[in-house]
Symmetry: C2
DNA sequence: ATACCTGCAAAGGCTTTGCGGTTCG
DNA sequence: CGAACCGCAAAGCCTTTGCAGGTAT
């Protein structure tokens, strides 16, 4: 895992390279995403940004996460529920997902799948593993035998 | 893979057990899903059902796929784009996903990940692997070197 | 100075819901 | 006959977009 400061700096450098303006809102969105471990929704990011810049608009957050995604600095993760979630962790990692409440946790696995670079005509680029189950909180709430 | 007729019959039996009415629309939705290999969207299922029952409503299809999901007979798969897709293939299988157009293809793998039944406090139930890449059609459209 | 960006509000798309009439069991 | 279901239309999210004013370079 690369250092957060370094990633933020990389982001700023790349913005300059690509002629994108470095605005406080943009930096805030990426910084918040870098410091989140819970794969926040756009709304959640928005709430955080608002603490620093109360006049920020939700549309700006949407535009920024889209930019980040296009730059390859964040990923959109979408499993259940209505709203998309974002993840700035671009290391090879996988997800542990609660089938009840939708919570997502990052997980690193030793095992490595050997995926051919060509499969059924597809040129493959990468993979991710989703492990489904019940999170500790939801197990608690369910019958004690689970 | 279990036979389609058998699955349809199971569905009907379970409906009876659970006091759910067996309506033509319901049967049609499940039947269409069973015979689809392309993980159709609700809209696509709707278009198919309409061929048999022109007066069917989109809301009914939404309600039915939700029922099927709750019964464990279909899964909602949601990666990109706006609309959810459904899959009645409940065998252990994985997905090959085109990052460009969102096409999804089922894939069966020899390799088996050994997932502990308990992981970071989660009680695990299963997993799925998503392999990302460019589908044949999109490779074609891109530069010939891809 | 200018190209890019933001905030606002409106529009757009997918999905859910309320209701009256209908159908299955 | 009664409970469950359907079709219709409206409402409800989440997300995108157009525009006028503001900001970074």
């Amino acid at each position: 895992m690369v250092d957060r400061e370094e990633r933020l700096q990389d982001f700023i450098d790349r913005c300059r390279q690509e002629g994108l303006k470095i605005t406080p809102q943009r930096v805030a969105v990426y910084e918040i995403l870098l410091n989140s471990y819970n794969h926040p929704t756009v709304e959640e990011i928005y709430d955080e940004v608002k603490k620093r810049y109360p006049f920020v608009s939700l549309a700006t957050v949407y535009r920024t996460v889209e930019t980040l995604e296009q730059m390859g600095l964040a990923k959109k993760v979408c499993y259940w529920g209505s709203s998309a979630r974002y993840d700035a962790n671009i290391d090879e990692h996988h997800h542990l997902i609660c089938v009840k409440c939708g919570a997502i946790r990052d997980i690193y696995m030793e095992e490595d799948l050997s995926i051919p670079s060509e499969l059924e005509g597809f040129r493959t680029e990468g993979y991710s593993v989703n492990i489904y189950g019940l999170c500790p909180e939801c197990r608690e709430k369910a019958q004690p035998t689970s």
